[in-house]
Symmetry: C2
Subunit: 302 residues, 2 copies
Amino acid sequence: MAPKYLTGDKAGISEFLDRFDVFLFDCDGVLWSGDHLFPGTAETIDMLRKKGKQLVFVTNNSTKSRADYKKKFDSMGIEAKVEEVFGSSYSASIYISRILKLQAPKNKVFVLGESGIEQELESENVPYCGGTDPSLRRDIEPEDYKKIADGSMLDPEVGCVLTGLDFHVNYLKLSLAFAYLRQGAVFLATNTDSTLPNSHTLFPGAGAVGAPLVKAIGREPLALGKPSQAMMDAIEGKFQFDRSRTCMIGDRLNTDIQFGIEGKLGGTLAVLTGVSKKEEFLAEGAEVVPTAYVDKLGDLLG
Amino acid sequence: MAPKYLTGDKAGISEFLDRFDVFLFDCDGVLWSGDHLFPGTAETIDMLRKKGKQLVFVTNNSTKSRADYKKKFDSMGIEAKVEEVFGSSYSASIYISRILKLQAPKNKVFVLGESGIEQELESENVPYCGGTDPSLRRDIEPEDYKKIADGSMLDPEVGCVLTGLDFHVNYLKLSLAFAYLRQGAVFLATNTDSTLPNSHTLFPGAGAVGAPLVKAIGREPLALGKPSQAMMDAIEGKFQFDRSRTCMIGDRLNTDIQFGIEGKLGGTLAVLTGVSKKEEFLAEGAEVVPTAYVDKLGDLLG
């Protein structure tokens, strides 16, 4: 069915909002772009709260913890609670602690990523190594090859490799992660987005940073971010919502909108302030089509 | 047809060697492993030369130039001429200079790799940037995102991205390479080996190092190393041999032996001193099967 265009359609907006009790929001490209807040964002969030809607902010950005995200909301002047934020690092940490349940002495996670992942692992009491360890932010040396080969540089407690967006990726960290995977470590990714929007263009995303491991080991990680339904299950486990009364709002068809469709939510809403263009879902034979769309989130104010 | 086992079979060896005028050798895993020369290697090379065979040393290792490889042969006590060495960096450089023929002002190559690639590009007078440039061996900074986005950090002459094995890969270099690819640069790889043997185990290979770009841009590079037939064509262009009288000797089924089979050479010889095991090609339904095999190269001495 063709998506309904809601911008400027007061009656259409009202009817659409009445269909849902819960709204899942993607953040970057929907609420803001980098440090630029889209007009009407804060007012729309307020309006939905006043209508009694439950809001969950769902982000694949693994470099920030929920606490980091709360600070971002504060700085943008948007009301949000830490408990309303659901990031891919948190999703991965919950998966590891509550579903994977790694047993000692093989319960440590080798992290390829930034501090956001580390903070969320700590919040679930999951032991980890790698990550932002400054001793790994260097070139690989001839001795390292031997120490990785003979195992003396490897932590015997590592039973899982978790990859996310790592701005400090290097050959040494990739070699360590690969060695753990060869030993049989569980292979997880916070998310596998191929690109990362920044400064109005695209940079390599978390999926690109982890791609060397996929290529070297010859298998894909289990991804815990959108559109993986492992993330939807984790959100549902926490918030206990009725999927038929829930709407996913996002700017990316192949992550956000697909996430909502595969999760059998009551509806999806695309905004045109991010990556995907309306031509993509209005085209004949488009594979991922939202229920409705607006030019920008603030258009929901009517 | 089942491969013939030649170790200890004097008549079989003699008959096999008589079928060929040219032998293409893989190096690591065939002649030596790292710094360990396999017994009988030098004597086998001598024996083949005395029989008047033409020898070509074909390697996917992009970190070394032909001149670097000549030094390695010297240090190992094996007679070899620079002209007999054919590496993936040289193959890529020939492809760029003689087939791609990039036109000024878009004729510069952005290199993700080590000095071996740079040396071979210089030998073909191909201008390049990136590579071992020390100013790129650092973390990405907030300003870099803006300068990459607005183009001020990009070299307007770059028309090609060449990826190989880069032990100094980082997010900044990946971001630059990705930006050039988004601008339409030709995407080449010296080789796409997923792994690199070292210290009797495996590390991420050139294909793994370049994988972030493949994931981010969503297309594969043209690979100029084994088993790409672009490399076979380049070798043939230089040495003018009769393929039916040529044999490829290697240790990897999915690169060396496949390279020879796809190149319709007269034969292939597997050695068991490297990556692939005989169980792989002796198995029922094996996909890549050599013409013959020996335990080690020196067994050809009979």
